[in-house]
C-alpha cells in the first residue's frame, strides 16, 4: 500500500488526512506495523510545536524513545526537537504519539512523503533484562551526593521562605498583615473551623428545646419508634428479595 493511495482513500471518506508509514523494527522482521503521520495542526498554537514544521505521528510502540524517532526521520531533514507522549496518562495502552519538529518546512514535507522507516531496533532499543539491570544499578544513590543535593535545596528553600515572610508582613501599600500569631490572633480561615462554628451554633439552639413537654411530642416519638421498626422491616425484606433472586434459600 503506498502512502498516496491511502491518503486518497481518506479524502474520499472525509477523514482527517493521515498517511501511513510502514515500520520495520529489526532488519529481518516481517511483522507489519503502521505509523500514522500528518502535519501537526491545532487551533491552539504551542510555541515549541510550531505550525508548518511539526510532524504528528501516531501508533509508536511503547519502548521507542525520542532518539529512536529522531533516527527514523533524520533522513528527511534536520530535526530540532522530538516530543513523545502517551495519549492519556491513566490508560493502560502503552502506544504513544510523537511530535517531530523540523528545522525547515522542507524536512516536514519530505517526511510526509516517506513510505517506510527501518532501523536496527536490536541495537538501539534498550529493553528487557538489560534495562532492568541498568535501572537497578542506577537506583543506588551515593549518600554524599544525596546530602549535598539536600543541603543545596534546603538553602534555597530557606532563602525563599525568608523572602516570603518579609513580603507577607508588610504589603505593598505599607499595611501590616494580621497573622494568627500576635496579641489577639484571629480565627484561621479553614473549612474545618467554619464547620465547627456552625456545629456550635446548632448545639446551642438544641439545648433550649424541651422534648417531653407537649403530648404531640410523645405521640411523635412513639410514631418514630414505629417507623423505625417499619423501616428495619422493609430493609430486611429488600435484602431477602435480593438473596432470593440468587436462590440462596435452597439448603441442598
Amino acid at each position: 500500500m503506498t502512502a498516496a493511495k491511502i491518503e486518497n482513500n481518506f479524502e474520499s471518506t472525509n477523514h482527517i488526512r493521515f498517511s501511513i508509514i510502514s515500520l520495520r523494527l529489526t532488519k529481518d522482521s516481517t511483522t507489519p506495523r503502521q505509523l500514522f503521520i500528518k502535519e501537526h495542526s491545532l487551533r491552539r498554537q504551542e510555541a515549541n510545536k510550531p505550525q508548518g514544521r511539526t510532524l504528528f505521528i501516531l501508533n509508536i510502540p511503547p519502548y521507542i524513545d525520542e532518539d529512536n524517532v529522531k533516527t527514523w526521520f533524520c533522513s528527511a531533514g534536520k530535526i530540532l526537537n522530538v516530543f513523545l507522549e502517551n495519549q492519556q496518562i491513566t490508560s493502560t495502552n502503552g502506544y504513544k504519539q510523537a511530535y517531530v519538529v523540523f528545522v525547515k518546512r522542507e524536512g516536514l514535507l519530505k517526511a510526509l512523503q516517506m513510505s517506510h522507516v527501518e532501523f536496527d531496533g536490536d541495537r538501539s532499543v534498550k529493553t528487557g533484562l538489560e534495562k532492568y539491570i541498568e535501572n537497578y544499578n542506577n537506583s543506588i544513590c551515593d549518600p554524599d551526593k544525596l546530602s549535598k543535593e539536600l543541603s543545596t535545596f534546603m538553602l534555597k528553600f530557606e532563602k525563599n521562605e525568608k523572602k516570603d515572610k518579609k513580603t507577607k508582613d508588610v504589603d505593598e501599600d505599607g499595611w501590616t498583615v494580621v497573622t494568627r500569631k500576635g496579641h489577639k490572633p484571629g480565627l484561621a480561615n479553614k473549612e474545618s473551623v467554619k464547620l465547627k462554628l456552625n456545629e456550635k451554633i446548632g448545639k446551642k439552639s438544641k439545648v433550649k428545646e424541651l422534648k417531653n413537654f407537649y403530648t404531640f411530642q410523645l405521640k411523635e416519638r412513639k410514631m418514630k419508634n414505629l417507623t423505625e421498626l417499619r423501616k428495619n422491616f422493609e430493609e430486611a425484606k429488600k435484602k431477602i428479595n435480593l438473596m432470593k433472586s440468587s436462590r440462596r434459600f435452597k439448603p441442598y
Binding site: 482513500n9 481518506f10 477523514h15 523494527l25 511483522t31 507489519p32 503502521q34 500514522f36 501508533n59 510502540p61 511503547p62 519502548y63 495519549q87 493502560t92 495502552n93 502503552g94 502506544y95 531496533g121 532499543v125 529493553t127 528487557g128 533484562l129 538489560e130 532492568y132 539491570i133 541498568e134 544499578n137 543506588i140 544513590c141 549518600p143 544525596l146 546530602s147 539536600l150 535545596f153 534546603m154 528553600f157 521562605e161 484561621a188 480561615n189 479553614k190 473549612e191 474545618s192 414505629l226 417507623t227 421498626l229 417499619r230 428495619n232 422491616f233 430493609e235 430486611a236 425484606k237 431477602i240 435480593l242 438473596m243 440468587s246 440462596r248 434459600f249 435452597k250 439448603p251 441442598y252
Partner: protein, 1144 residues
C-alpha cells in the same frame, strides 16, 4: 469467565461504531430515565413517608412486636420464612403420594397366606415338578438370596399372613418432613399366630421378624423394593419401597410384634434374653453368659415392642402444633447439613422428634412459641443438659429405673413406657458433636452476625470441614469385624451381644480418648452399613473425624502418674510403650510422662497425629489413611537449604520479626534530632502470612554481581543467571510531634530524606550497621535480612490534601495520591498489627493464609489480580466471625475454599471487625449503606475498623471477572477435596488441587528459566535446583541485590503497556510462564479515530488489532527474558475453556 465475556460484550456494544446511533439513543433514554427517576423517588418517598407514618393496625403492631420478641430480628425471621417455603411439600404432591399409599394398603390387605413353615423346611426345600404355592414361596426364599441373618436355637415355625394392623409414623405423619423428597414410615404388626410364648429368647423373634419381612418383600406387588438397615443397625433390617410415580416417595416398613404380646419389661437392661452363643462371639464361661443381661439385644426387642406407642405419642404431642413442626423442620435441615443423621449411632430425626416431644411435655416449649424459639430452646437444652450424667425420661419414671439404665447405657432418655432407652444406639461421640454444634449455634444467635443463618442452615458442613483430623479405617474393616482388635471379657461381649463390630469400634475410640485426653473435644464416627444379598451386613465406610481442642491440642507433654505410684506408672508405661519416659518436673515431682520433642510449629501441630498413629498403627496394627496436614508441604521453603530448621513459613517469619524488633530498638535508642515514637511493620511477614518470608542469613548470594562500594550491583556482562530473589521487609517509622516541619510538600520530602541520612549515619557510627538511603526509604542490612524504613509524617498528608477555596478558606480534600499514601503508611500498619494479634491468638491463621495465597497464585491469580492484603483480610474474617475456630492451617484452608465457593459477595460485604472495634449500630449502618450503593461499589467490599468503611484495599482489584474465576476454582477445588477425603474410590492426591490448567489461554510467554530468580519457590521444583547458603558466622557488611525480580518487572511493564488489550496471568511463586487472554475489546473492528489507533492496523478502512506486532512487542520488551511465545492458532474466536475446572 462467562461473565467476563458478557460484561465486555456490553462494553463493546457501547463503543462499537455500528451502535453509534443506538448509543445516542441510549444516552437519551438514560437521560429521560434519570429524569423519571428523579421525579419518581420523590413520589415514592412521599408514599413511603405516608406509609411509614400511617397509624398502625393492630395486626401490624402485633407482627412487629412479635418479630422483636419471638425472633432474633427481622432478617432472621424472613430468612426462616423463605427457607421454610423452599423446603415445604406441595399439597399436590402430598395428595399423589397419599393415593399411592392407599394402593399400598390395598396390596397389604390382599397378601397371600402361607401357613406353618419351619426354618428347616426352607433350607431343605427342593425343586419339585408340582409345587404348591407354599413350596413355591419357600423355594424363592431359599434361592432368591434372602440370607438367614440370625441363628436361633429352635426350628421356629412361622405362619405368614397379612399383617394384623398397620400404622404410619415418622416426620411425614407429623407434618414435619422436609421436602422435596417424600418419606414415610409404616409399622406392620405381625399376626398373633406367628408367635409362641417365649419367642423373645435366643433370636427367635428376630428370625421370625426377618422372614416375615422377606415375606412382605417377596409378595408385595411393588417394583422398587430394597432391604436396608435402619440407621445402619445390623439387627434391624427393614424394607424400603419406592413409589415409581414422579415425584418419588419412599416408604420404610418396620415389622413389630402384635400389641401387648410381649411385655416391654422383657427388654429392661437387666434381663438376659440370649442363653446361647448364637452370634459366635466365642464366649467361654457359660455362667457369665446366663447371668449377664443382653443389653443391646434387649433394646432391639424393646424398640419393636414400644414403637407403636411411642409413635402415637409423638403424633399426639406435636401433630397439631404448626410452629413446633416448623422448628423440627429447621432442625432437621440443621442436622442434615452437618451429616449427623446418617450412619450407625446417628442423631436421627426420630431422636430429634423425641427430644422436641420431651421439651413439649416438660413445658420448655409450648405451642405459642415461634419456630425460632423452638430451635433456640432445643439448642439451649442440648447445650446445658449433660445427658451423660443426667438421665431423662418422657414419662413418669422412678429414679431406680433411671439408675438401672444409667448403669448400662452412657446416655439415657427413657420413653413413655419407661422400658426403652430411646437413645440406646446414639453414639456418645456423635451426641457430643451435636452438643458442641448446639453451643456454637446458640452463641451464634446471641451475638448475631449477618451470615449466621447461612452458616446454620444453608451451608453444608461435611466431616472434613468440621474436624481437623480425618482417619479413614475402611481398609481395615475386615480386621475389625474379625474381632482381632480388642480383648473383651466375656461379660462385655454378652452386654453388647449382636453388635461385636461396633463394640470393637467403641474399643478403638476408647483407646483414642485415653491417649488424646484433653487434646480433643470429640470424635465423630461415620459408619455406613449396607444390606447385601449374600452376606447380610456389609460395612461400606468407616471414617472418623477428630475435633481438636484449640487450647490444649498441641501440648508437648503428657503427664502420667507419679513414679512412686508403681502400679499406675507401670500401666502408663505399658500403654505408651517406647514413648514413655521418667521425668522430673520443675516443681520437683517425678512422673512417668510422654514428651514430644518438637522444634517447629508444624511439628508441634503434628503431636495429635503422632498419637493417633501410635494407637492405630503401633498399638492396634491397623491399616488406615490419615488426613491432617498434607497441604502444609506447599508452604515449606524447599528450594533453599536453610541455616535453621523450618516446618512451614512460621519459623522464618518469627526470625525476621525478632530481628526487626532488635533493629527497631536500636533505632529508637539512637540520639536523633527528632525522637522516634514508634516503628511498625508493613510487610506480610509480620502477620506470618507471607508464603516465602525472607530468610535471615548472614551470607548473601554473590555470584553474577559486582561490588560497588558497599553495594552489590548486577553485572550486565555476566548475567546468564541472576542472584536469587531477596525480599525487603517494609517498616514504617513514626516520629514525635513537631511543629517545625516546613509548610511545603517538596521541602517536607527533602527533610525526610535528610532524616534517613541521619538514621543511616547513626546506625553506622553507633552499631556498625550498614545501610543506604535514597529519596524514598532507608535500607538497612541487619542480621542477614534487608529492612526498609519509611517515615510517616502527618504534615505530608495534610499538605497533599490541602486545597484553597475561592474565598481563601483552606480545606483538606482526599485525593488519589493522599489516599494511596495514607493507605500504605497509616492504615496498613494498623491492619498488620491487628493481623499479627490474630495470629498470636489463633496460631493457625498465618500459615493458613499463606496456604491460601500459595493456592491462588498456583492458579495464576497473582497479587495484581487478587492482592495479598485482601486474602489476609478474608481469612481473618472467618476467624473473627465464627466461633468454631480452625485449629490447623489445613482445615482453615479448606474452609476458605468452601467459603469462597459459596459466598455471595454481591449481597454480603466481608466483615473484618478486629476486636469488635466497630459497634453493632455502626456495623448495621455501614451494611445498609453498602446495600444502598452496592451497584457503584467495588465487587468485593470489606468492612473493617481502620478505613472508615471505604474498603480501600479492594478499590481496584479484584474485579468481578477475577472473583468469578476464583469462585469457580474454589468450587472445583472443594469438590475435589471432599471427594478425596470421603470417597474411597478416588484416586488422586492432594497435589491435584495445586495443579494448574493451562488450557484456554490465547498466548503463552515462555520465560527463560535461567533468569528465574524465584525458581526455588516453584511448586514442582526438583530438589536439585537448591540454592545452598553457606554457613558463616561473620556478618557481611554489604548490601546485596535486593528486590530484583526481572520477571515481575516485565509482567508489570506488560500490564502497563497492554493492559487495555490483554489480561495476563502468572504464578508469582517461581512461575516460568505468563499466560494471556486477549480482552474482548480486541475482537471488534473500529472506525479510524486518533484515540483508537494504538496497537492497531488499518485494513479495509477499519482498524483491527495488530496481534502480530503486539506479540513482537512482548518479545522486544522482554529481551533477555523471553524464550519464545506460543499463540493459540484459533486466532479469531477462542473458546473459554478456562472456566472448566483447573484440575483435570
Amino acid at each position: 469467565m462467562t461473565t467476563y465475556k458478557e460484561v465486555n460484550d456490553e462494553q463493546n456494544n457501547g463503543t462499537s461504531p455500528h451502535s453509534k446511533n443506538s448509543k445516542k439513543r441510549k444516552v437519551q433514554e438514560d437521560f429521560s430515565k434519570k429524569k423519571k427517576l428523579k421525579s419518581e423517588p420523590k413520589s415514592k418517598k412521599n408514599m413511603n413517608k405516608k406509609e411509614f407514618f400511617k397509624p398502625p393496625t393492630v395486626e401490624e403492631l402485633n407482627n412487629l412486636k412479635m418479630t422483636e420478641n419471638l425472633y432474633n430480628n427481622n432478617l432472621f425471621r424472613l430468612q426462616i420464612e423463605e427457607m421454610l417455603k423452599e423446603i415445604s411439600i406441595k399439597e399436590k404432591r402430598k395428595k399423589l403420594f397419599d393415593s399411592w399409599l392407599k394402593d399400598l394398603e390395598n396390596y397389604l390387605n390382599n397378601l397371600p397366606n402361607y401357613e406353618n413353615i419351619t426354618l428347616s423346611e426352607i433350607s431343605k426345600c427342593q425343586k419339585k415338578k408340582k409345587m404348591t404355592p407354599e413350596d413355591q414361596f419357600m423355594w424363592t426364599l431359599k434361592t432368591k438370596k434372602y440370607p438367614n441373618l440370625f441363628e436361633t436355637d429352635q426350628n421356629v415355625k412361622m405362619s405368614f399372613q397379612k399383617p394384623l394392623n398397620y400404622k404410619y409414623f415418622g416426620l411425614f405423619e407429623c407434618n414435619a418432613l422436609v421436602g422435596p423428597d417424600l418419606e414415610t414410615c409404616l409399622i406392620l404388626e405381625m399376626p398373633k399366630e406367628c408367635f409362641h410364648h417365649k419367642d423373645y429368647l435366643n433370636n427367635r423373634y428376630l428370625v421370625k421378624r426377618l422372614y416375615y419381612l422377606y415375606y412382605i418383600a417377596e409378595t408385595l406387588p411393588v417394583p422398587n423394593k430394597k432391604i436396608v438397615y435402619h440407621e445402619s443397625n445390623i439387627l434391624m433390617p427393614i424394607l424400603q419401597i419406592q413409589s415409581d410415580l414422579q415425584p418419588k416417595g419412599t416408604v420404610k416398613i418396620y415389622i413389630v410384634p402384635p400389641e401387648d404380646y410381649f411385655k416391654a419389661t422383657r427388654g429392661l437392661p437387666n434381663v438376659n434374653n440370649v442363653k446361647k452363643d448364637l452370634f459366635r462371639c466365642d464366649i467361654k464361661d457359660n455362667d457369665v453368659f446366663n447371668s449377664t443381661p443382653t443389653v443391646l439385644y434387649n433394646s432391639i426387642l424393646c424398640y419393636d415392642i414400644t414403637l407403636k406407642e411411642n409413635a402415637e405419642f409423638i403424633k399426639s404431642s406435636i401433630g397439631n402444633e404448626k410452629n413446633i413442626q416448623e422448628g423440627i423442620r429447621l432442625l432437621t435441615v440443621w442436622l442434615k447439613q452437618r451429616a449427623f443423621n446418617v450412619g450407625f449411632g446417628a442423631f436421627s430425626f426420630d431422636i430429634l422428634a423425641y427430644f422436641i416431644a420431651y421439651l413439649f411435655t416438660t413445658k420448655k416449649i409450648n405451642k405459642f412459641m415461634s419456630s425460632y424459639q423452638v430451635i433456640r430452646n432445643f439448642w439451649s437444652f442440648l447445650a446445658t443438659t449433660d445427658l451423660e450424667n443426667e438421665p431423662i425420661a418422657l414419662g413418669d419414671v422412678e429414679k431406680e429405673s433411671l439408675d438401672l439404665f444409667k448403669q448400662y447405657f452412657p446416655l439415657v432418655f427413657l420413653d413413655k413406657t419407661g422400658c426403652f432407652n430411646l437413645i440406646a444406639f446414639l453414639d456418645v461421640n456423635i451426641y457430643k458433636a451435636v452438643r458442641f454444634e448446639s453451643t456454637l449455634a446458640l452463641r451464634g444467635l446471641e451475638d448475631y452476625r449477618e451470615n449466621i443463618f447461612t452458616d446454620l442452615f444453608l451451608i453444608k458442613h461435611p466431616l472434613p470441614l468440621q474436624c481437623e483430623l480425618i482417619v479413614d479405617l475402611t481398609e481395615s474393616i475386615d480386621e475389625i469385624i474379625a474381632k482381632k482388635v480388642s480383648n473383651l471379657t466375656d461379660k462385655e461381649k454378652v452386654l453388647s451381644i449382636g453388635f461385636q463390630p461396633f463394640q470393637e469400634l467403641t474399643h478403638i475410640f476408647k483407646l483414642l480418648h485415653k491417649a488424646l485426653t484433653k487434646r480433643i473435644l470429640h470424635i465423630v464416627p461415620y459408619v455406613e452399613v449396607e444390606f447385601s444379598n449374600i452376606h447380610g451386613p456389609q460395612f461400606t465406610k468407616l471414617l472418623f473425624g477428630i475435633k481438636l481442642n484449640p487450647e490444649t491440642a498441641f501440648n508437648f507433654i503428657e503427664k502420667g502418674p507419679e513414679l512412686h505410684n508403681h502400679i499406675e506408672a507401670e500401666k502408663f508405661r505399658k500403654f505408651w510403650g517406647f514413648l514413655a519416659s521418667d521425668r522430673r518436673f520443675q516443681d520437683g515431682s517425678t512422673h512417668v510422662a510422654v514428651y514430644f520433642k518438637r522444634t517447629t510449629m508444624r511439628g508441634k501441630r503434628n503431636i495429635p497425629k503422632r498419637i493417633v498413629k501410635y494407637i492405630l498403627d503401633e498399638t492396634l496394627n491397623l491399616k488406615f489413611d490419615i488426613y491432617y496436614d498434607e497441604f502444609e508441604q506447599f508452604i515449606i521453603p524447599r528450594g533453599i537449604e536453610l541455616p535453621f530448621k523450618v516446618g512451614t513459613n512460621e519459623e522464618a517469619s518469627l526470625k525476621v520479626i525478632t530481628l526487626a524488633d532488635e533493629l527497631s530498638q536500636k533505632l529508637r535508642n539512637g540520639q536523633m534530632s527528632l525522637n522516634i515514637s514508634g516503628i511498625l511493620g508493613l510487610s506480610d511477614v509480620f502477620s506470618y502470612t507471607d508464603v516465602f518470608p525472607p530468610i535471615a542469613n548472614s551470607q548473601f548470594p554473590k555470584s553474577f554481581t559486582k561490588l560497588k562500594q558497599k553495594h552489590l550491583v548486577l553485572d550486565p556482562k555476566n548475567c546468564t543467571e541472576l542472584p536469587y530473589y531477596l525480599k525487603p521487609i517494609d517498616l514504617i517509622v513514626n516520629l514525635e510531634h513537631s511543629s517545625k516541619w516546613p509548610n511545603d510538600l517538596e521541602a517536607v520530602r527533602h527533610v525526610k530524606t535528610s532524616f534517613y541520612l541521619e538514621m543511616s549515619k547513626m546506625l553506622q557510627d553507633k552499631y556498625n550497621i550498614v545501610s543506604n538511603v535514597n529519596n524514598n526509604f532507608l535500607q538497612v542490612s541487619y542480621g542477614g535480612a534487608i529492612f526498609r524504613f519509611r517515615l510517616f509524617v502527618q504534615k505530608e498528608v495534610s499538605l497533599m490534601k490541602k486545597v484553597t477555596a475561592d474565598d481563601g478558606a483552606v480545606a483538606y480534600m482526599d485525593n488519589k495520591s493522599s489516599i494511596e499514601y495514607e493507605k500504605t503508611l497509616k492504615i496498613l500498619p494498623k491492619v498488620t498489627i491487628a493481623l499479627k494479634g490474630l495470629h498470636m491468638q489463633y496460631s493457625s491463621y498465618g500459615p493458613a493464609t499463606a496456604l491460601v495465597k500459595r493456592w491462588l497464585r498456583s492458579q495464576l491469580i497473582d497479587d495484581y489480580l487478587f492482592p495479598d492484603i485482601v486474602i489476609n483480610l478474608i481469612t481473618a474474617s472467618f476467624y473473627l466471625n465464627y466461633h468454631n475456630h480452625p485449629c490447623t492451617p489445613q482445615i482453615a484452608f479448606m474452609r476458605f475454599l468452601d467459603y469462597v465457593a459459596r459466598n455471595d459477595w454481591e449481597v454480603q460485604p466481608v466483615i473484618v471487625n478486629f476486636n469488635d472495634e466497630i459497634s453493632k449500630a455502626d456495623l448495621a449502618e455501614l451494611d445498609s449503606q453498602f446495600q444502598k450503593h452496592k451497584a457503584t461499589l467495588q465487587p468485593l467490599y470489606i468492612i473493617m475498623p481502620y478505613d472508615e468503611g471505604q474498603s480501600l484495599f479492594t478499590k481496584t482489584s479484584p474485579t468481578k471477572e477475577v472473583i468469578d474465576r476464583v469462585q469457580e476454582l474454589a468450587l472445583s477445588a472443594t469438590d475435589l477435596n471432599t471427594l478425596r477425603l470421603t470417597d474411597t474410590h478416588f484416586n488422586g492426591t492432594h497435589a491435584h488441587l495445586f495443579q494448574v490448567n493451562l488450557k484456554g489461554y490465547d498466548f503463552k510467554i515462555h520465560l527463560n528459566k535461567a533468569r528465574n530468580v524465584r525458581k526455588h519457590e516453584k511448586l514442582d521444583m526438583e530438589q536439585k535446583n537448591q540454592f545452598v547458603i553457606p554457613k558463616c558466622e561473620e556478618e557481611q557488611k554489604i548490601i546485596p541485590v535486593v528486590d530484583f525480580d526481572p520477571f515481575a518487572l516485565y509482567l508489570q511493564e506488560l500490564r502497563e503497556n497492554f493492559g487495555e488489550l490483554a489480561t495476563f496471568f502468572f504464578d508469582s511463586y517461581g512461575g516460568n510462564l505468563i499466560m494471556g487472554l486477549w480482552n474482548p475489546v480486541v475482537k471488534n473492528k473500529k472506525e479510524f479515530k486518533v484515540s483508537a489507533v494504538n496497537g492497531r492496523l488499518l485494513k479495509d478502512e477499519k482498524l483491527i488489532i495488530n496481534k502480530e506486532a503486539i506479540i513482537e512487542d512482548f518479545h522486544i520488551l522482554g529481551k533477555g527474558l523471553v524464550d519464545y511465545i506460543e499463540t493459540n492458532s484459533r486466532d479469531s474466536e477462542f473458546e473459554e475453556n478456562v472456566t472448566e475446572s483447573a484440575i483435570e
